[in-house]
């Protein structure tokens, strides 16, 4: 008997599988779609080579002075020559290890709050976070540690943006938590004070807050006290940040089911035990993506410090652009560079925020 031999299955039509199918579905599904695709490709084909040529092939990479820029493309020598100032401002070169040390400490504290064993993680990381601004300022300023004093006029560059943002959000964290609790409080006066505070700092343009810090705040201190400008701005940033973060935490509090509060009450925890041991860890977990988003906003806003004359990175760039040895018009290179630095840091943080959000979503589904 002849064994049944099925004919081999015919391959799927070429139109429905593989690359051509993808092309048909995604780029050329209809005639208008094909027209759009072709015009986008044409635009890219025209501009991308020009951009690449400017940025890479006919760009100048080596050298130390403006004379080294002989080719007509970008003059990356400018960025190279000023890179120290862009990152560290006018901080003395022989003391720059202090900035690097502070950066390392910052990274270590961030790493510690994710990797420490669970039993000590919360306490250890909260302590190190709260100590970090104090230690950082002590290292950078040097007065308390017996190092050479570096006055705050010399601090600057991109690291100043990072430090201002980090120091503000760390100190704002406990405050914003209190404001958020105040806004949820049942005591009418405490609630209205919290609401007024939060809405004031959220409703006012951040620039006017900086002006308050630089022009109005000195009037508030007792006669003769002279508070450093950077510290005044820091105070303003802390207030600004705690207003925004309070709203983030309020969202977090609302996301914690009321059963959690009731359960904590029923096992006889006091108010602060309930808040700190039961509610806060859950609030921080739920609000993590929003905290990161708020931090990105704060980080971007640190560039506004330029307006009141603090030498953060954009201000440094403008100084470099008006330097008499570099008058060849490097605005495009300079701004593109700072653009990319900020974009890199903010984009990676928003990717991180999105990843955390996705992880939390799966938690809920389980």
């Amino acid at each position: 008997m002849k064994e049944f031999q099925p004919i081999a299955a015919r391959p799927a039509p070429i139109k429905t599988v593989g690359f051509t199918a993808w092309l048909r579905d995604n780029l050329f599904s209809t005639i208008p779609n094909a027209v759009v695709t072709l015009s986008v490709i044409a635009l890219l084909a025209y501009y991308l080579p020009l951009i690449f040529d400017w940025a890479f092939w006919s760009a100048n990479f080596t050298g130390t002075t403006e004379d080294a820029c002989v080719k007509e493309g970008a003059c990356w020598v400018f960025i190279n020559a000023w890179s120290y100032q862009f990152f560290y401002g006018t901080y003395p070169v022989e003391e720059v290890w202090r900035i690097n040390l502070t950066l390392v400490l910052l990274v270590m504290v961030i790493a510690a709050s994710f990797t420490l064993p669970k039993s000590i993680r919360l306490k250890a990381s909260i302590t190190s976070w709260l100590l970090l601004p104090v230690v950082g300022i002590a290292i950078l300023d040097g007065r308390l540690l017996g190092l050479e004093v570096v006055s705050t006029d010399l601090w600057g560059g991109f690291t100043l943006n990072v430090f201002m943002a980090a120091a503000s959000i760390i100190v704002a964290f406990p405050f914003s938590f209190l404001w958020a609790l105040g806004r949820r409080s049942e005591m009418p006066f405490i609630r209205s004070v919290s609401v007024i505070f939060i809405e004031f700092f959220r409703g006012v343009p951040v620039l006017s807050l900086f002006f308050m810090g630089s022009v109005m705040l000195p009037l508030f201190f007792a006669e003769g006290t002279n508070v450093d400008k950077l510290i005044r701005v820091w105070l303003v940033l802390i207030f600004f940040m705690s207003g925004y973060m309070a709203e983030v935490f309020r969202g977090g509090f609302q996301a914690v089911p009321s059963g959690q509060y009731e359960a904590a009450d029923s096992i006889g925890l006091s108010y602060w035990q309930k808040i700190l041991l039961i509610i806060l860890p859950q609030v921080i977990k739920v609000s993590m993506p929003n905290i990161l988003a708020t931090f990105v906003m704060l980080f971007k806003n640190t560039t506004f410090l330029l307006i009141i004359g603090i030498p953060e990175v954009v201000q440094t760039l403008q100084t470099a652009l008006s330097n008499s040895y570099w008058l060849g018009g490097h605005a495009l290179e300079g701004y593109l560079f700072v653009f990319l630095v900020f974009w890199g840091s903010c984009f990676s943080m928003s990717v991180l925020a999105r990843r955390i959000e996705r992880q939390m979503n799966t938690d809920k589904r389980d």
Partner: protein, 406 residues
């Protein structure tokens, strides 16, 4: 932290409290506690503000700063770069306040208009069937959302607009619109005697659209017949003023910008400061609005689209009749906060020297008069009021699109 207690201990503890010993004391009563906390807060705040006010008065006396709002009537003595109402350097600080306020409104209005446009275009583009378009939308949002606004303002101002050609080599569009390093020059319509009639006709046409829409909706509900509302309204808005203009003999003259000496004169001039600020605000806020639109559309369950397909709606009708009206419920509150932050961000005018309220008042007037508290608070109040108006309008709009529950 907590010792394990035996049943006996717990029982005795609860017996103790019910028999009215320590834990029923007055300081354990939450109401009395709350009362004292609030008293403490009031006392603290009073002390805080008392110290601040005392220090401020003492400091102002020591440095000889005047107080009060008399300075508003004094001559400002400086000129502003751009003004929507006539302004000379002999005018008062009060008038400069109005000039700055109008400039702020102008740049905010331009910014809100273009940001909404960009945001909706790129937000919807995220759902395009075309892979390239989707990627372009993604790149736009991710680039411009993640770079500080100030940097973008500078980028447009110093790196793009200042590399435009000079007046003699201006880029031109049909010899009517010119773009050069000094700004954008556009023709201006100057109305003659009867021109107000044309504007009235335009207004009537716009009012007519609302009547038409209402009538068309009613007719559709009664008879099921649809009326081409969009085409008719476009025709109305264009044709009606045109007919009136023709009847009155075109009472307009067009003033074209013309090159005289080193620059263009006449027509409408948009200074590069305004341009860079408006572009940066629109592009930056547009990226956020695009995200809001995307979130809104994504919040609609896919079943809605499938249900709409199954009753035979065409794809574009599904978008406009089913998806967008529901997505608006998510989008409008987000739009509200984006518009408010756009208005607040317009203070960045100070960075490029566009004379908005913040720049002319907190920048220059404060510098000249030294009256920090008055100028800063007057300015802040204006931003509060503008944002409250935006919030009020958007909430009205939100009520219109919100889910009507029975």
């Amino acid at each position: 932290m907590f010792k394990q207690k035996t049943i006996e201990e717990v029982k005795s503890a609860s017996r103790k409290s019910s028999s009215g010993t320590t834990s029923n004391a007055f300081y354990n009563n939450p109401r009395i506690r709350g009362f004292f906390y609030q008293i403490a807060l009031i006392a603290g705040l009073l002390y805080f503000f008392g110290t601040i006010i005392g220090n401020t008065l003492a400091n102002m006396e020591a440095t000889g700063i005047k107080t009060g709002f008399d300075f508003l009537g004094a001559a400002a003595g400086y000129d502003v770069l751009m003004s929507l109402i006539s302004f000379e350097s002999t005018d008062t600080y009060g008038r400069i306040f109005v000039v700055g306020f109008l400039n702020t409104l102008l740049v905010s209005a331009i910014g809100i208009f273009f940001a909404t446009l960009l945001g909706f275009v790129f937000g919807v583009a995220h759902f395009s069937h075309n892979w390239l378009i989707r990627k372009v939308a993604l790149v736009y949002v991710e680039i411009f959302r993640n770079v500080p606004l100030l940097l973008q303002v500078f980028f447009w101002y110093f790196a793009v607009l200042s590399s435009l050609p000079g007046a003699r080599q201006s880029l031109s569009l049909g010899e009517a619109v010119f773009l050069n390093v000094r700004g954008l020059y556009m023709p201006k319509l100057i109305g003659g005697d009867l021109s107000s009639l044309v504007w009235i006709a335009l207004g009537a046409a716009v009012a007519g659209i609302f009547v038409l829409r209402r009538w068309a909706k009613k007719r559709q509900e009664l008879t099921g017949q649809q009326f081409p509302v969009l085409k008719t309204s476009i025709a109305m808005v264009i044709l009606f003023p045109l007919i009136v203009a023709a009847l009155t003999g075109f009472p307009f003259t067009v003033e074209y910008p013309a090159l005289k000496g080193f620059n263009y004169f006449g027509g409408i001039t948009v200074i590069p400061e305004l341009m860079s600020l408006a572009i940066a605000l629109s592009v930056y806020t547009g990226a956020f609005i695009a995200e809001a639109v995307r979130a809104g559309v994504q919040s609609i369950p896919h079943g809605q689209t499938e249900a709409a397909r199954s009753i035979g709606l065409r794809e574009n009708k599904i978008m406009s009749l089913i998806i967008v009206p529901q997505a608006m419920r998510v989008i409008v509150p987000l739009l509200n906060s984006e518009y408010q932050s756009l208005v607040k961000n317009s203070t960045l005018a100070a960075a490029v020297g566009y004379p908005d309220l913040f720049n002319v008042f907190v920048g220059t007037a404060l510098n000249q008069t030294g009256q920090a508290i008055e100028t800063i608070f007057m300015t802040i109040i204006v931003y509060f009021v503008v944002n409250m108006v935006i919030s009020f309008l958007m909430n009205r709009f939100n009520n219109a699109v919100a889910l009507v529950s029975r």
